[in-house]
Every structure is written in C-alpha cells, then in structure tokens.
Subunit: 249 residues, 2 copies
C-alpha cells in the first residue's frame, strides 16, 4: 500500500462482501473516516486505527463534504495513512469522484479500492440478475434526483430498454413511478424495492411499476433501499416472491 | 455456506479484488468450474478443489452453456459443493442469470456471491469515476451487441445523459462509435478503452468518441477491454493521461 489516502468501497452491507484489497487498506490505516451506512463489523480489520464518524447522526446533517475533504488532506499532510470507508463503491454515487479530485488538487497520493455496489448485489440477494440476455442488453444505474433538482430523462431511460436500478429513490418513489409511466413504461412492468439489502434485517416488496409505491407505503419500507424496474424482476427467487406476496396480502 | 452451487464473481482481474465471501466459497469448494478470463492466482484459496476449465482455450469454442449447466447439476446431485467462478460479477453480463435459472429448475440450492464488475473498477483504476454528480446523474452498462445481433438503442442511450460503459465492444468499436455519433453524441466527447484493467499488463487509450476507434487500432489494443464514453473520462488521472498521449504520439 503506497498511497496516503485510500477511497475504499465497503460493499452493500454484509461484512463478507468487502474485498481482500479493502481489508489490506483497513489493516494499514492510521485513521478511518467512516460513513453512516457502513457496517461497523468491518472495523474489526483495523483495531489499530482511529475512527472518525463523518456520516449523518440522528436527525443531524451529515458532515459537509468540504470538511471531509479538508480533514483527509490535513491527516495525509501529517503523514497519516487515511482510509475513507464508503458504502457500496466509491465511484458509483459515492461522491468518491469529488473526494479524489480534492485530494489530487492538494497533491495527495490517492488510490481507489472498488466495492460491491448495492445496485447489483442487493437485487442478486433475492435472485434478480440485473442483466439477462433474453430480457435486456444492459442496465442503467441512476439516482431519483439530479444535482440541480431535476428528474432524469425517464423517456430516454425507458426507450433504452435497459433494466433500471434506482439509488436513493424511496422519498420520491411515487414521482419516479409516475415519470416512468408517463414515459410509456407498461403499468405491469415488474418492479421491486429492497431495504437493507444483504443484511439480516433485509426486507423487500415485489410488485408492478404502477403498484410499487403503494405497496412500499403499505409495507412501511424505508431508506436505504434499492429500486429495480424491468423484466428481470420476474426472475426473483420464487420462494422469496411467495413470502413477499403473502406478507403483502 | 449452505448451498450446493455458488455462482461466484472473481472480480476484474487483480486477485485482491475478490470478496471475503468469495474466498470462503472457494475454501468450501469440492470442485471449481472456472472461466478463461479469471485470474488463476485465485485458485490459491482452494488447494483442495478439483478445477474444471470451461472457458475458451486457444482458438477453440468455449464450452457450450448447456454443458456447463448440466455439469453443475450433475456434480451437485453427487453431493459436491460446486463453485462456478466467473469474471467480474455473475449477474452483470456474466450469464449467471441463465445458470441460476437452470439450477433452480433442477431443484439445486444455488447462491450468488457478487463480484467487482470491470465496468466500475477498470475505469476507476485510471481515476475515472463512472458517476460524478457535476457531470451525470447515472451510468449505463451495455454490451456492444444484443442477443439477436442488433444494436442497442444508441439514440435513447445518448439522450439518457448517462455515462456509457460498454462491455465486449472492441470488435465492433468503429460501428459503436458511428452509432453514437449518428445518435447526436458530440464528436469530441471524451472516450477511453482500457485493456486488461487492474492487471500488470493493463493498457489504455484516452481519446474522443470520433477518434477512439482509430487510436485503439494504432495502439493495437484488443479484447478484453472496457470502453467508457462520457464527460467523466475527463477526470482520468492526469499523469496516466499524459503517459497515454505520449505513447499515442
């Protein structure tokens, strides 16, 4: 390990879904800046390290991004080996790109250690492959909202024919569903929402595009969750599907 | 570990980019069915296991999918613990979905162990985050060709505004570039091709959409490679970019 700062993906939740390279980075860390959603069991790999919590606590705001950037730079300049431990993958909606650029601008050697993203692993946990060549030629990973507050181009995304995996979409699920329906996606398109995927407390609702929002509300599912919309949702494990439907009845 | 067959993602190449869960599956394996592109160093985790090569060898055809399916079922029925070790993630263009359905139909308990997909980790290896909220609201992972021989809907994909990550696209790179240009993507859109990503022998070309195909040809880059098209390619590490440009001159 040769960098000063490692942007490390902690994976989707399950503490075994972290890479060997990430474990090596944790073992080499002097200090770990950890996000709220990261499984604390991962800290077992770094008993020597000081841990700084930089995620949301209680109802409070999360630590501002510029503060995290400055802290990483300051620690690195003091000669510390820093691990920035982030849920999922640092470069797939993890703001790792922003942190990398801040570190690079400050002349700090930085290395990224990829993580398993929830968008693939969480659907997989109930038997949904995000691609299957009989159903789709690809998959799009999007957030429910763009930085400027606008919506993604639902029309284009529906026309693309890709499976849609939506991160951070629970608060705007009704709006997202309406956007997809208005863009011409069939009301009976299979859709799923999966909360706390790969953890013991995982819960899911499998439904249709038109009914997912209501079903999620009825079941009381909340963030953090992954939403999947597409024909591949039909491939969900039938035993789990039966359980989910029975719970919904 | 309780399943009979584990569909395990081996990651993008670097032997350290495999998960702890995958290592546990390898340690528990009686037999491993391994793909051609998987790093053989991973077999160190399973000295006890019999290894069956099921990928392409030399110029030969790869083992037919139905043969692999039958072999997994047969071994599982003999009471063997089977690991099906696949490059990247089993469910992101890994045909893991097809294998899962075949096993499920035969009543064989199957579990998927996600892997780091090349589409995220390989761009990351040269400092390209596939998403960055200042540039895009998402990323689409697609193959250059659909199962029926047709092309993806380039128009829709361009309109989606997502970063495009193209798997298995090197043979049809000129055609893919033309499709994207015809769909209205700017000729000077940054684009990269990265061969053998995360391995010692990694090579990359960073160029523009209009010139990538020629640059790849001139540099002699070949499969396996990941193609990335989008504004985020601008974020590639400047040191590596300088190296790539000097090599291209």
């Amino acid at each position: 390990m040769k960098a000063s700062v490692y942007l490390v993906g902690a994976g989707p939740g399950d503490a075994d879904l972290i890479t060997l390279k990430a474990v090596k980075a944790l073992q080499a860390a002097d200090v770990i800046l950890i996000d709220d959603l990261v499984n604390r069991a991962l800290l077992q790999h770094a008993p020597q390290a000081r841990v700084v919590e930089v995620g949301k606590r209680g109802g409070c705001q999360s630590t501002p991004q510029h503060f995290i950037n400055r802290l990483m730079i300051s620690l690195a300049e003091q000669g510390q080996t820093v691990v920035r431990l982030k849920g999922g993958d640092p470069f797939l909606f993890g703001r790792g790109g922003e942190e990398m650029l801040a570190l690079r601008a400050a002349g700090i050697p930085v290395e990224t250690v990829p993580g398993i993203s929830s968008g693939v692993a969480v659907p997989a946990s109930i038997g949904i492959p995000v691609t299957h060549r009989a159903y789709t030629h690809g998959v799009s990973f999007i957030t429910g909202h763009t930085q400027d507050g606008g919506s993604p181009d639902w029309q284009a995304l529906v026309a693309s024919g890709t499976t849609l995996v939506i991160y951070m979409g629970m608060k705007h699920l009704a709006e997202i569903s309406r956007g997809l329906l208005d863009a011409g996606m069939p009301a009976d398109m299979p859709a799923a929402a999966i909360q706390n995927g790969t953890l013991q407390q995982q819960r899911q609702v499998i439904s249709t595009l038109a009914e997912l929002s209501m079903a999620v509300h009825q079941q009381g599912l909340e963030s953090p969750a992954i939403i999947v919309v597409g024909e591949v949702v039909r491939l969900a494990d039938s035993a789990m599907l039966a359980t989910a439907l029975a719970a919904a009845a």
